[in-house]
């Protein structure tokens, strides 16, 4: 595979993490404009783990994901009393705070005679794990998709479990959930933490794939795109956001002749899609219909001679 294709595919994979993160909050009924903050925190924390402290990559990804997840839980607890647009804007404010602070923070240590670490507005350079271990882009791409598959399987499994049902209950009517005995506070914080952790994994991978990160990448555009992916693909299943990412990054990257008019075409298409399907391609009703269809087929197959 040529490097260009590998890069495009890897980007799709890494952006999918933040799309899944926004999706997880969407099904619990929260619209976050700020998941890019946890992507960024994951990138910085994991980058620091390998470049500054020379930890192994898997530990670094775990560190990135946990730092992001814990921070998301703290923010989740602080913003518990907020709902709707107030919640959305508070996440936006937090994410911009993180980005602007990262533009100021300079923490560097000497590794092999060179200064390494976050360097304010210059970003965080020389996260050279891939070069040091001689990992090719293609190998790293498989790592990305391996982790993405794990997260996706976990999410699909969660959706079939009691926790998934609890999240959907929160999302469709949190007063009713509370009246039925559900501790909504606890689950809102849990959802925030999980979503932050997923975004953190994506960030950790991103830092090592591009070998440098700069705060400018984690601006609000990334967060709102993540939100849009979930809604385009549909809120009925965790596959939805991936479809959204694939349509934007994959499809439009492939159709070269609209270069330069990309957003004009894409924007118009999505606007029309949302008029026809306000909860995305694979919304709850369509997912339900597909499931019924499949289970009927299975039953028919089982009964067959």
């Amino acid at each position: 595979m040529d490097d260009y294709l590998v890069t495009v595919l890897s980007n799709i994979g890494m952006i999918s993490f933040i799309a899944l993160s926004a999706y997880l909050l969407l099904i619990t009924g929260e619209i976050s404009f700020g998941q890019q903050a946890y992507f960024g925190l994951g990138a910085y924390a994991a980058g620091a783990a390998t470049a500054m402290f020379e930890l192994p990559i898997w530990t670094a990804i775990l560190v990135g994901s946990s730092v992001a997840g814990l921070m998301a839980m703290v923010v989740g607890a602080l913003t518990l009393r907020l709902s709707g647009l107030y919640f959305s804007i508070s996440t936006l404010a937090f994410a911009e705070m993180v980005r602007l602070i990262l533009l100021i923070v300079k923490v560097q240590v000497e590794v092999d005679g060179e200064m390494v670490g976050p360097d304010g507005s210059n970003g965080f350079h020389d996260i050279r794990w891939m070069f040091e271990r001689d990992i090719s882009l293609t190998e790293f791409m498989f790592m990305i998709y391996g982790l993405l598959a794990l997260v996706l399987i976990a999410l699909i499994w969660m959706e079939r479990s009691r926790l998934g049902m609890v999240f959907r209950m929160l999302g469709s009517d949190d007063l009713l959930a509370e009246m039925q005995g559900l501790n909504t506070v606890r689950y809102r914080i849990l959802a925030a933490g999980l979503a932050g952790g997923i975004a953190g994994i994506g960030g950790a991978l991103y830092a090592h794939f591009t070998t440098y990160v700069e705060p400018q990448f984690f601006n609000v555009m990334l967060g709102v795109h993540a939100l849009a992916y979930g809604l385009i693909g549909g809120l009925g299943t965790a596959i939805g956001p991936l479809i959204g990412v694939a349509i934007d990054l994959g499809f439009l990257e492939a159709v070269r002749f609209i270069q330069g008019y990309r957003m004009i075409v894409f924007g118009g298409l999505v606007a029309v899609l949302l008029i026809l399907m306000p909860r995305g391609l694979l919304d709850e009703e369509r997912v339900h219909r597909l499931k019924t269809l499949f289970s009927r087929r299975n039953h028919a197959g089982a009964r067959g001679p």
Partner: protein
């Protein structure tokens, strides 16, 4: 079972409940009637912890639950329905009942909802009781209104509630559907449970309630055996005279 002492609820300047004293004995079916805005739904909301009371005390089976959060009150064994029906619209009938059980369980979060066949069978049992077994895989927002009300009732039956609060269970129903709902409450809900029923339709009240209480402007103005309360001239003037939505 449930005891309210001087229960008050104010929304800024508006007094919705002006000091209500009420005791509900175990096993009785208490009807609450009153004109619109008399504080019936506010009473339910205050008891179930939608919002905290502004004054007074609520105790349930000897425990003071004043100011508790809704989910703790629910777990103690109070279940309710809603005047403007609340269901999880994108879940199936089966899942809606299952969700009610889930919220109260403290078992593992990662169990599959349909994995335990015992509880699946118990859901099917209550769906059969309310006559929704055929519709078990239908999405809740595709059900007609009477079926939605019955689904709310199924949700109560599926959990272990000592006290059930029904907020206009026959709201928007035809006389025939109301009679069905009355039979369901009398034969399935009431046995083994203490009930409080808010309703405008006297047909339902007279056929299910063992006791009746009348609210007006946030005060209790009558309380007793249904026939006697309805014969009370003050109640007749205030409630029956002023409202034609009696369904009788």
């Amino acid at each position: 079972m449930l005891a309210l002492e001087g229960l008050e609820k104010r929304f800024d300047a508006l007094v919705a409940l002006a000091g209500i004293d009420l005791e509900v004995a175990t096993g009785e079916v208490l009807g609450i009637i009153g004109p619109n805005g008399s504080g019936k739904t506010t009473l339910l909301n205050t008891v179930t912890g939608v919002y905290p009371p502004s004054g007074g005390r609520v105790s349930f089976r000897g425990t003071d639950i004043t100011g508790w959060k809704g989910h703790r009150i629910a777990r103690l064994g109070i279940a309710r329905t809603f005047q403007n029906i609340r269901l999880f619209p994108t879940m199936t009938v089966f899942q809606n009942v299952r969700a009610a059980q889930h919220s109260r369980e403290s078992g593992s979060l990662f169990d599959r909802p349909a994995s335990s066949s015992v509880s699946a069978r118990s859901v099917e049992f209550v769906l059969e009781q309310v006559g929704l077994l055929e519709e078990r895989e239908v999405l809740a927002n595709h059900l007609p209104l009477p079926a939605r009300r019955r689904l709310e009732v199924a949700r109560l039956l599926a959990v272990d509630a000592h006290l059930v609060l029904l907020d206009e269970p026959a709201g928007g129903m035809t006389p025939a559907e109301t009679a069905d709902m009355a039979r369901l409450i009398r034969e399935v809900v009431a046995p083994g449970r203490t009930c409080v029923v808010i309703e405008h339709k006297l047909a339902l009240i007279t056929s299910v309630c063992t006791r009746l209480c009348v609210l007006d402007l946030g005060c209790k103005i009558a309380d007793g055996i249904p026939d006697e309360v309805l014969a009370n001239s003050r109640v007749r003037d205030l409630y029956l005279g002023a409202s034609d939505d009696t369904g009788s």
